[in-house]
């Protein structure tokens, strides 16, 4: 009675491992050579569909290493980390970790960090849409309560720290980029901010103080604690200018008062 499970187990094993192919081919009608070549179509499809998902999530990595090398990387990744989900937009979360451990890829020292950034960009595309910013509600907050407000970040917002200028590397590889194709690798470690004003995901290099402020906000800190965290890194941190900029670009989508 459990024949279906047994047939699917043999089919699946044959798709995943060439050594199990002979056991899979036996379950199909037809002459052996024809069955073998037709089974190969299913194997190619399942590999190609996963590789296509990796290509959609990591276009900058593909540009950096070239289409041919990237196709090899995607195939190798799939054989190490097969898909578990039918939603292929969820596939590829550990591609950066794979690149960091895969010797042919470690020759490009910033590759894994750019992949980490691309995954955050990819996930930001599907993050929830926040309610429109309510300026009237904010204006009604009394001055003495203002520092107790908790800035709430857009669900698409992510912070990433790297030893490499990953925000700039990402920027110069965008199709829409038409500036000078130049990256200053001497600038040292930096923070990248992923944000999504309306529907288009963007990446910006931000300062230590800005990153400290946003990290504190993200953990649920008040304006007061976030400001203190930022000023510890830069005494002349200009909150007023940044707050309006961050609200304008939907980095901050709301301010909550305690008890709300």
């Amino acid at each position: 009675m459990r024949e279906l499970a047994a047939l699917q187990a043999r089919f699946g094993a044959g798709l995943d491992a060439p050594l199990s192919e002979a056991g899979a081919l036996e379950i199909f009608l037809g002459v052996p050579d024809q069955v073998k070549s037709r089974f190969g179509i299913y194997r190619s499809n399942t590999i190609a569909n996963a590789a296509k998902a990796i290509g959609a999530a990591y276009p900058v990595i593909e540009k950096i290493v070239g289409a041919e090398f990237f196709a090899g990387l995607a195939k190798e990744y799939r054989s190490c980390v097969p898909a578990v989900d039918g939603d292929l937009n969820e596939y590829g979360a550990s591609f950066a970790a794979f690149l960091a451990d895969f010797p042919p890829a470690t020759r490009v020292p910033y590759l894994a960090d750019v992949a980490r950034l691309e995954w955050l960009v990819h996930r930001a595309r599907y993050a929830a849409d926040p309610a429109p910013f309510d300026r009237a509600r904010l204006a009604a907050v009394s001055p003495e309560d203002q520092l107790r407000l908790r800035p709430r970040l857009h669900p698409a917002c992510h912070l990433l720290h790297s030893d490499h200028p990953i925000a700039r590397i990402w920027e110069v590889h965008q199709d829409t980029f038409n500036g000078e194709f130049e990256v200053d690798f001497s600038r040292g470690p930096a923070h990248a901010l992923v944000f999504r004003p309306r529907f288009r995901v963007e990446v910006a290099r931000i300062t230590d103080a800005e990153a400290a402020f946003l990290a504190s906000s993200r953990e649920g800190g008040t304006l007061e604690t976030a400001l203190a965290a930022a000023q510890a890194r830069n005494a002349s941190f200009d909150l007023g200018r940044l707050l309006s900029e961050w609200v304008e670009s939907s980095v901050i989508v709301d301010f909550e008062l305690n008890g709300e």
Binding site: L4, Q8, G12, I27, R38, Y42, N49, D129
Partner: protein, 281 residues
């Protein structure tokens, strides 16, 4: 067994529709191309928010929408993936589509998802399983779903029923409708050597809720269902026969690889509308 289709007040699909793909989003946002309805792949809209969902919510106010799933894996021996079903339910609740459909296939087993429409052995045991999984999905979504016949390159030795007898039994026992992919009938008739017109006779017309048309590619003696070209002449002829036999069924033009300008899809849709009308005249 009778299940509701679209929620009350939601426009039903009529005539010919096309598959909405990201490369045509802009045209659908800026102008409103004339087409009967739109179909999208459900999984592309499983996110919490973002641009794809924004576009879908925009077009749903102007066109009836069909949600066509490609990865629920209704034929898995170890059951329906509850997480996947929950995401589908969230999308169905959000979009209130006119139609919801999936495939007669399997794609997942244990922790693995193969991301392809793999064929099933057409056995009594598999039929019992698929009936129970379709029932589970229809109860969760609180509506009828349509199940599509897939194209395939291999047939199981274990099969006891024909593909179409299996689909007919599934519809009868679960109360699901049938999404008849005429291109897949033709592709399989060549790949497995049967008469496609005879196959149409096995399908209960009253269960058919939608027809799919797409292009295929020939690789040697094998036909590959790649949805990457215009509908083939033999498939148009089979479609005319289906129209004569089944009457007016909402029909969709599918195109998934090497997607052409929108006008080409609309042109194919116009051809389907002409043939459907002429066949019933």
């Amino acid at each position: 067994m009778s299940l509701p289709g679209a929620p009350a007040g939601n426009p039903a699909v009529h005539g010919v529709g096309i598959g909405l793909r990201a490369s045509h989003y802009r045209e659908f946002l800026e102008s409103h191309p004339r087409t009967g309805w739109l179909e999208v792949h459900s999984e592309n809209y499983f996110g919490d928010g973002g641009y794809d969902l924004h576009v879908l919510e925009h077009v749903r106010s102007r066109y009836p929408i069909s949600l066509h799933g490609v990865a629920l894996s209704l034929g898995s021996a170890d059951g329906v993936r509850e997480g996947h079903l929950a995401k589908l339910k969230r999308l169905v609740d959000r979009i209130e589509p006119a139609l919801v459909s999936e495939h007669l296939c399997w794609a997942a087993l244990g922790p693995r998802h193969f991301n392809d429409l793999l064929p099933l052995p057409y056995t009594r045991e598999a039929l019992d399983q698929v009936v129970s999984h379709v029932t589970r999905v229809q109860e969760t979504l609180r509506r009828q779903i349509l199940i599509e016949n897939v194209s395939s390159y291999l047939q199981f030795r274990a099969s006891e029923l024909s593909e179409f007898a299996f689909l007919a039994e599934l519809a009868k026992r679960s109360g699901c409708g049938i999404l008849l992919d005429v291109n897949n009938v033709f592709v399989n008739s060549v790949n497995h050597g049967f008469d496609p017109e005879q196959a149409l006779l096995e399908i209960p017309g009253e269960a058919i809720g939608e027809i799919h048309l797409a292009g295929h590619a020939a690789v040697g003696e094998l036909l590959i269902d790649d949805h990457g070209s215009r509908v083939a002449p033999q498939v148009w002829r089979l479609y005319e026969k289906a129209c004569r036999r089944f009457g007016a069924v909402p029909t969709l033009i599918e195109w998934d690889t090497s997607i052409p300008p929108l006008d080409v899809l609309l042109d194919e849709a116009a051809m389907a509308a002409r043939l459907s009308q002429a066949a019933r005249a």
